[in-house]
């Protein structure tokens, strides 16, 4: 059980400079593509032009004849030398290698990898590789892929359904039978993603004298070194991943395992360092970085007062050509399937369907943002059906503050919350309904959007055994090691990569709080994987909780060591000593200063307590609070902590042009005890911007006739720019979690989890007086305008 530190805090929650800012703003970051090794070779992937085809032959002779070209690796060659990539779903016949083997399954799939002295030369050579294809029927729509007779993406699997799980939690049918009112609706979440400016980049070097593969990669991937080693049939300690590479953006998608396995293999067989840096086209079509693409069919059973008693939800996710971890994105939302509402019974049908599209990867929220959008749409519709205010409907359905800890039907206990409190605090900022009506009086379409959503945080892997009983992984740790050198300097190590979430600031503040030493004096490093303690990675909105927890635990152990040394040296029992800012004080006024304690630990062994090891070093491998159990009766405790966000926004648009403008964006945010205010603010603003993209602009569209992607660059895949992202007013509330070291919860997905729902709600409120509504994202101008016009010209 975690012993919680109590406020007032010395550093936690105080506004301080984010320590990473200096190097990133000043151009001091070290990214994977900055690495230049002697003799390094460059890669260019040859991508499939067909959504489905048998590979009849590959003739690389002309490419290999070009001076400076070192290799053209094919799928068959790589498959012979490696194990398939890890598969999350229980589908052993859905086999995936970094390069297509025998058959291509989506337009953009890597067919061969060309290796040359320069990237430009590799691209020249790529054009000379002759591939003979025999085209096969294909399917790109998720529902069509489930239909009888649909072309099979993986014929040996016998179906395109990769995951089909049906859960019933509580008396669903009973509640539906007695409910006086019901409604059914469908919403669509288009395939969008997080789109980092930095594409995926990896460099690998095989050290033949030590039998070690060194890997520098732009990653945010759990168990990355293990997966490379397993695929390349190497011992775990023969792969050294350098975690000190800076990652130029991720929010889920920087998985890069196929890239790393492939480049690792090439480095080994060619005996030269090999690097692959995707260009934008390769990243968007074949980088396997697209997010969930869902159709939700939902039914709600509610009463005349607007209380929702039961829900049936079917979520159909088109995961693309291979499974990977993406089906799990249907599992994580189970831990907050009822959102902030006291819905008593839930039926959930999770379907992951393969199609001839780019494989899906993890995206911020791991499936939670689409689920929140589906749920919030229903709450708005219940309000509309009853003629109730959309704020009132939420007040009536919220789990009340005094009900926490609160067990939801699917088995997760929410740690803490005060949803109604934050709603009232947020709506007190402005009367957006009055502002809306003023805009309407000017002839504009205007609407208020409301979304109240949860951010489950402290990520663990409970959804893995829940969705795939073959997988019994429940251990999801994060670790920190603190070392005090002989001159008294403090160095703390984290043991994974960081992709812009300011983990160095987090660790330094957490350690500083316990040791009462300014964060600026604490160096934070990321050693390589062979020098690291067990760790996962910064996914699942977990690091404030998990790395913060590990850092505090390690610092507490170190502080205990200092007290033990002082007790022995001063001859005073430990419980009478007082630790303050690195020094230890005895009741009689004597003290041992930090430097003195360091000297004892490092140099004056004769002053150490008997049996105590010299030096000052402590570590913690911290397990997810409440985690670790296998599912029981289809129920499981998913994530431990539950942040809450309440979006309250105003959108206006011209009646014909229908380009939505966000006039006000107010968000109430409660992630428990904030550790670094600027980091949380940055996460929230970035998350809202991300949600604006998903709601209004972004889609990895595909031409259904040809199976070709139609958004493969920033020309067609439209990210919101500074012009489209409004000023955001943030309202804070602090409801500490009882489970964490400072009462903190996660915030890495904040903003994004509710902004698409809020924007969709605002647009539908704007459309409502005209008798139309839209239940699909992104809501583009022509879609809205055509609907208003009653045409689809």
């Amino acid at each position: 059980m975690t012993v919680q530190l109590q406020p007032p805090f010395r550093y936690v929650g105080h506004k301080r400079r984010v320590r990473e800012d200096r190097r990133f703003v000043a151009g001091g970051g070290h990214y994977a593509a900055d690495l230049v090794l002697a003799g390094m070779l460059h890669c260019a992937p040859l991508q499939s032009e067909h959504p489905a085809a048998r590979i009849v032959s590959i003739d690389a002779s002309a490419a290999l004849a070009l001076p400076g070209v070192h290799a053209v690796l094919t799928g068959a060659q790589l498959a012979a030398a490696s194990e398939p990539l890890m598969n999350g779903a229980n589908t052993p016949l859905v086999v995936r290698y970094p390069l297509a083997v025998g058959q291509v399954r989506y337009a953009g799939e890597w067919v061969a990898m060309v290796v040359a002295e320069s990237r430009a030369l590799a691209e020249d050579a790529r054009e000379l590789v002759q591939v003979e294809y025999e085209q096969l029927p294909f399917v790109t729509d998720g529902e069509a892929a489930m239909a009888e007779g649909a072309p099979l993406v993986h014929p040996p699997h016998g179906s395109n359904v990769l995951l089909d799980r049906h859960f019933i939690w509580g008396p669903v049918e009973e509640r539906f039978a007695v409910a006086p009112r019901k409604l059914a609706y469908r919403v669509r979440w288009a395939r969008s993603s997080t789109v980092p400016l930095e594409t995926f980049a990896v460099t690998a070097q095989w050290d033949a004298s030590q039998d070690v593969l060194d890997v520098w990669a732009s990653i945010q991937m759990p168990k990355f070194p293990d997966q490379i080693a397993r695929s390349l049939r190497l011992p775990g300690n023969a792969v050294r991943v350098h975690y000190d590479v800076d990652v130029g953006g991720s929010y889920g998608v920087k998985r890069g395992i196929k890239h790393a396995v492939l480049v690792g293999h090439l480095a080994r067989v060619l005996g030269r360092p090999v690097r692959l840096v995707e260009d934008r086209l390769e990243n968007m079509t074949g980088g396997d970085m697209q997010g969930p693409e869902r159709v939700f069919d939902v039914e709600l059973a509610y009463d005349d007062a607007g209380r929702v008693h039961a829900m049936k939800m079917r979520a159909l996710d088109n995961v693309g050509a291979y499974a990977g971890r993406s089906p799990f994105q249907l599992g994580k939302p189970i831990g907050a399937i009822v959102g902030p509402y006291a819905i008593e019974a839930v039926e959930y049908h999770a379907l992951a369907v393969a199609s001839n599209k780019t494989p899906q990867e993890a995206v911020r929220g791991f499936g939670q943002a689409p689920t929140n959008y589906a749920l919030e749409t229903g709450i708005d519709q219940v309000a509309a059906a009853l003629g109730l205010d959309r704020l009132e409907i939420r007040r009536r359905n919220f789990i009340r503050a005094e009900q926490f800890p609160y067990l939801i039907p699917s088995g997760t206990t929410y740690d803490s919350g005060n949803y109604a409190g934050l709603l009232e605090k947020t709506v007190a900022v402005a009367d957006l309904f009055a502002e809306r009506d003023a805009l309407r009086a000017q002839g504009l379409l205007a609407g208020v959007g409301i979304a109240s959503c949860l951010e489950p945080s402290g990520g663990n892997s409970s959804f893995e055994p829940l969705l795939n009983p073959m997988n019994r992984t429940t251990t999801w740790m994060e670790s920190c090691r603190i070392h005090v050198d002989a001159l008294g300097g403090i160095t703390a190590a984290m043991h994974t990569t960081t992709s812009g979430q300011a983990h160095e600031t987090l660790v330094s503040v957490a350690v500083a709080e316990v040791l009462e030493i300014p964060p600026e004096r604490i160096r934070v490093i990321r050693p390589d994987s062979l020098a690291s303690l067990p760790s996962n990675s910064p996914v699942g909105s977990r690091m404030a909780i998990m790395l913060g927890g590990a850092a505090v635990r390690a610092a507490q152990k170190l502080r205990a060591q200092l007290l033990a040394i002082a007790a022995h040296d001063l001859g005073v029992p430990q419980h009478l000593l007082r630790y303050s800012e690195g020094d230890v004080h005895a009741p009689d006024g004597r003290k041992l200063a930090w430097q003195e304690l360091v000297i004892i630990a490092h140099r004056e062994y004769f002053r150490l307590p008997p049996g105590v090891e010299p030096g000052l070093s402590a570590s913690s491998i911290y397990m997810v609070p409440t985690g670790g159990e296998l599912p029981k009766d289809d129920k499981v405790q998913m994530y431990p902590c539950h942040s809450f966000e309440f979006h309250y926004i105003l959108v206006a648009m011209d009646r014909v042009l229908c380009r939505p403008q966000i006039r006000r964006y107010i968000i109430g945010h409660d992630c428990g005890q904030v550790i670094s205010p600027d980091v949380v603010k940055g996460m929230t603003l970035g998350g809202i911007a991300h949600g604006i993209g998903a709601a209004l602009l972004e889609e990895f569209s595909i031409d259904a006739q040809t199976g070709q992607p139609t958004a493969a660059s920033f020309m067609d895949y439209l990210l919101p720019s500074a012009h489209e992202v409004p000023h955001v007013e943030i309202v804070h509330q602090t409801t500490p979690s009882p489970l964490t070291v400072f009462g903190q919860k996660g915030s890495g997905e904040s903003g994004y989890l509710g902004s698409p729902a809020a924007i969709a709600g605002a647009i539908n409120d704007a459309l409502a007086p005209h008798g139309v509504r839209v239940d699909q994202l992104p809501m583009r101008p022509a879609l809205l305008s055509d609907l208003l016009e009653g045409t689809h010209a």
Binding site: D654, S713, P781, A782, S785, D786, H792, A793
Partner: protein, 274 residues
């Protein structure tokens, strides 16, 4: 995204560029490179030679004469944006230029490059057609409305090069202009755009009304208007072919063109009355 190999050469004069172009039909001219560079990088174009005209003396001048304003092909869009002379003599262009891309692309992008590229969404082309400008080339001068033939297709003869744009000067008295467009995001290619110049006579009567539509149609179109009314604009738009793409269909573009034309007209009217 590395271009296929090509030879890069810098022209010292228009004459030299013209000779190189005439000698090699696969050669391409590069001005600001805001379109050509990505196309090269994606190997969508594969010229044998890329002829850089940025170093040609005199091609980047803005000349305001008694009857005309002439912009050289290498005039950067940012120079137009910041030019007080253009704001005074060509206020419609001055307004429209702010809708061209973004500040970083306007810093590199040129007047001639935009005209030569002939993107249907290009604001500079729309203003040129609306105001009856001439496209100056090494072969001939073309009325802008005859120059743009289809998306990315112009009347420029093979081997010729755009050298500038020449606008007629309109007396500044009693003139109003308006520009409006809708794009997916600010700075994106317009799904529809409208440019308007309204000149009143001494008695307050309409001396000249020019209203052009771009973005929605394959090339910018100067509307043939019977009167400055919504009905007249709708009637003028009715026979025009509208483009469609995944972002916006023809119906949306037609409605948007009308709405934007009304906005531009309204802006021009308010300005002339002020």
């Amino acid at each position: 995204m590395k271009p296929a190999p090509f030879e890069y050469i810098r022209a010292e004069s228009v004459l030299q560029a013209q000779e190189w172009l005439a000698a090699d039909p696969e050669a391409r001219v590069i001005a600001g490179g805001q379109t050509l560079m990505p196309m090269l990088a994606m190997r969508l174009v594969r010229p044998t030679r890329v002829i850089d005209i940025a170093g040609i003396a005199g091609l980047d001048t803005i000349a305001v004469g008694a009857d005309h304003v002439t912009l050289g092909a290498m005039v950067r869009q940012v120079a137009v944006e910041r030019s007080a002379a253009v704001a005074q003599a060509l206020p419609l262009l001055s307004k429209a230029i702010r809708f061209v891309g973004h500040p970083p692309t306007r810093r590199r992008g040129t007047i001639g490059g935009s005209v030569a590229n002939a993107d249907p969404a290009a604001e500079i082309a729309l203003v040129a057609v609306t105001q009856g400008a001439e496209v100056l080339t090494t072969a001939d001068a073309f009325a802008a409305r005859d120059y743009f033939l289809a998306p990315m297709t112009t009347a420029l003869p093979a081997g010729a090069m755009v050298t500038g744009l020449r606008f007629p000067r309109v007396a500044a008295a009693r003139r109003g202009t308006g520009f409006a467009e809708v794009a997916m995001r600010q700075g994106d290619y317009a799904m529809a755009a409208a440019a308007c110049e309204l000149v009143l006579g001494a008695g307050g009567e309409v001396a000249s009304l020019r209203l052009g539509i771009g973005g929605a149609t394959p090339v910018p179109v100067l509307l043939d208007l019977a009167a400055p009314t919504r009905e007249a604009i709708a009637a003028a738009l009715a026979p025009l072919e509208m483009m469609h793409d995944p972002n916006a269909g023809a119906g949306y573009r037609r409605r948007a063109a009308l709405a934007l034309a009304m906005q531009a007209l309204d802006e021009a009217q308010r300005e002339v009355m002020a």
